[in-house]
Amino acid sequence: MNGVEAVDLCFSYGEMMIIRQASFGLQPGEILSILGSNGCGKTTLLKCLNMLLKPEGKVLVDNMDLKSLSGRDLAMLMGYVPQMHSPDFPYRVVDVAVSGRTPQLGFSIPSKRDYELARKALDRVGVGHLADKFYTQLSGGELKLVLIARALVQEPKVLLLDEPTSHLDFKNRVLVLKILREIADDGIAVIMSEHDPNLASLFSDKVLLMMNKGEIVRYGSAKDVLSPENIMKVYGLEIEVFEKEGARYIFPRLGA
């Protein structure tokens, strides 16, 4: 199939099984949100998808097995936005963004054209005005957007994001997710981990709910997956579901 497909992914740190037989597929243009409690293996699953870890099983992008690709070829298919990035040196924002061209560049220094691509990507995620600032001076939300821009400069088919909305304020969360929606609409498959079930169901086409020990509880549309029974199973939390204008909203039932 087109897009990205995971087949029977398993991963363990020593004796500890983290990912158990994960299988799912995603078409280009779709967003997949991975939900689950803290420490259930969401980050590990993402790192298995882009081979930062060495999982058993297969990951296919456009029917190509990622295990058979070199690091450089893989980087041209998949972009990765980490959860945390600690800037050590005061680099210019546009220099950080242009480093997304590394797989294409190899050892050479980026050209004017590469810098144009980087500026375009920064404009696209709405931080073009920061291009010539030092990225050590950015806020958390701005930094996230810069890292997303860098991943876009990679021109990937699949974009992985580890909790793109963590540590962001309410407005920036929505802003980041809106931008991800636009990116997906341009034909990129977006896979991200997310904590908020409401934002996940508003912005994503598919939801994957993970249990502790990496077991996939449900995979499918947000409506099917985020049912009171499943939420109870994963979080041990009773919820109330409201529907308005076709959208579902989930609230915890307090005092129950």
Partner: protein
């Protein structure tokens, strides 16, 4: 009037933020080593006049000997030393994401010192042609030990690398003390003199020994400068951008070690240059390795020429350049650290 001029330039330096641009300084970075070189060659106890360059070239005078066989090789070695230290320090600091790392941290200095001392103890301290290879071999051995010690679960982490470097340095320092205790006093003196680091013994044969490896290291590191930039983003991000992190980091460390060991083996351990030169450069042109690395070659060379000029001419007797760099280096580093603190983190 002069006072006013000075105040204006001091004010300019004070208001000036690190990394304000490379283009403005490109010309200065290219020409300042050359200007300093001319100044260096014309200064000294014995004055060689430049008015008679033609005379200098075509005569057998003592001028010619001093100029071509004493001052020129010494100046060239000073520049090579500074260039190697500048670019190696800048590369390692960026790659390992730690502004306090220098090639000496990997065990190069104590390895080289032990190698030199061992050779002096066994074969006598006048046999400098044996001291060099021994110093370079033990310097690289120390780096090799540091690297293998820091390999943990098949991976190098920057932190474990720095810690292993400290351990290996301590080990070789211990061996060195042992050698110093066991040999005759005049050999101990020679070992101490070697360890301070000096340039007054340099001849063309020293330059021939160190230049090829130094050039290999410098050109190699320049070739890697874009990868060094990406590596400084962190291991996982570099890997997700298609870089084989372990292998390339190892290559960079080896190139920096080869460059450093090749010059240290002929000059002795001239301290602080590998830490100071990259930081002066960072202060001038910013942290981006694309410009930091080439610029640090020039800054390192200038720094060494200046330090050696002071060493040669400031007193009635010559003070080893290693003493000068350390005495200038420590307060200068403190100043740069205070200025740039916000920029590093």
């Amino acid at each position: 009037m002069v006072f006013k001029e000075i105040m204006v330039s001091v004010n300019y330096i004070r208001c000036w933020r690190p990394g304000m641009g490379f283009q403005k300084y490109k010309v200065a970075l290219i020409f300042s080593p050359l200007i300093l070189l001319i100044l260096y060659l014309s200064m000294g106890k014995y004055s060689v006049s430049f008015g008679s360059l033609e005379q200098l070239l075509y005569s057998d005078s003592i001028d010619k000997t001093i100029f071509f066989n004493i001052r020129l090789p010494r100046a060239v070695e000073a520049m090579i030393f500074g260039a190697c230290m500048g670019i190696s320090g800048a590369s390692l600091q960026t790659t390992l994401r730690n502004p306090l790392v220098s090639p000496y941290f990997l065990g190069i200095s104590s390895g080289a010192a032990f190698g030199a001392a061992l050779s002096m103890a066994l074969f006598g301290y006048r046999n400098f042609f044996l001291v060099q290879p021994s110093a370079i071999i033990f310097a690289l051995l120390a780096v090799f030990l540091t690297l293998s010690l820091s390999k943990f679960r098949g991976q190098f982490s920057p932190v474990s690398l720095v810690l292993s470097g400290m351990i290996i340095s301590a080990l070789f320092a211990g061996f060195l003390s042992l050698v110093q205790i066991l040999v005759e006093p005049e050999k101990t003196q020679a070992i101490v003199a070697w360890m301070i680091g000096r340039l007054y013994t340099i001849t063309w044969s020293d330059v021939r020994v160190s230049a090829p490896l130094a050039l290999l290291g410098i050109i190699g590191l320049l070739h890697f400068r874009w990868r060094i930039f990406v590596l400084s983003m962190g291991d996982e991000e570099a890997r997700s951008l298609g870089i084989n992190v372990e292998r390339e980091r190892l290559m960079i460390i080896l190139l920096a070690s080869i460059a450093t060991a090749s010059v240290v083996s002929v000059t002795g351990i001239i301290g602080w240059v590998c830490l100071i030169a990259p930081h002066i450069t960072r202060f001038l042109v910013g942290s981006d390795p694309k410009v930091l690395l080439p610029a640090s070659i020039s800054v390192g060379a200038c720094f060494m020429l200046l330090a050696d000029m002071i060493s040669r001419t400031a007193w009635s007797f010559e003070i080893p350049v290693g003493v000068i760099t350390t005495i200038i280096g420590a307060p200068l580093f403190l100043y740069l650290m205070r200025r740039a603190q916000n920029e590093w983190r």
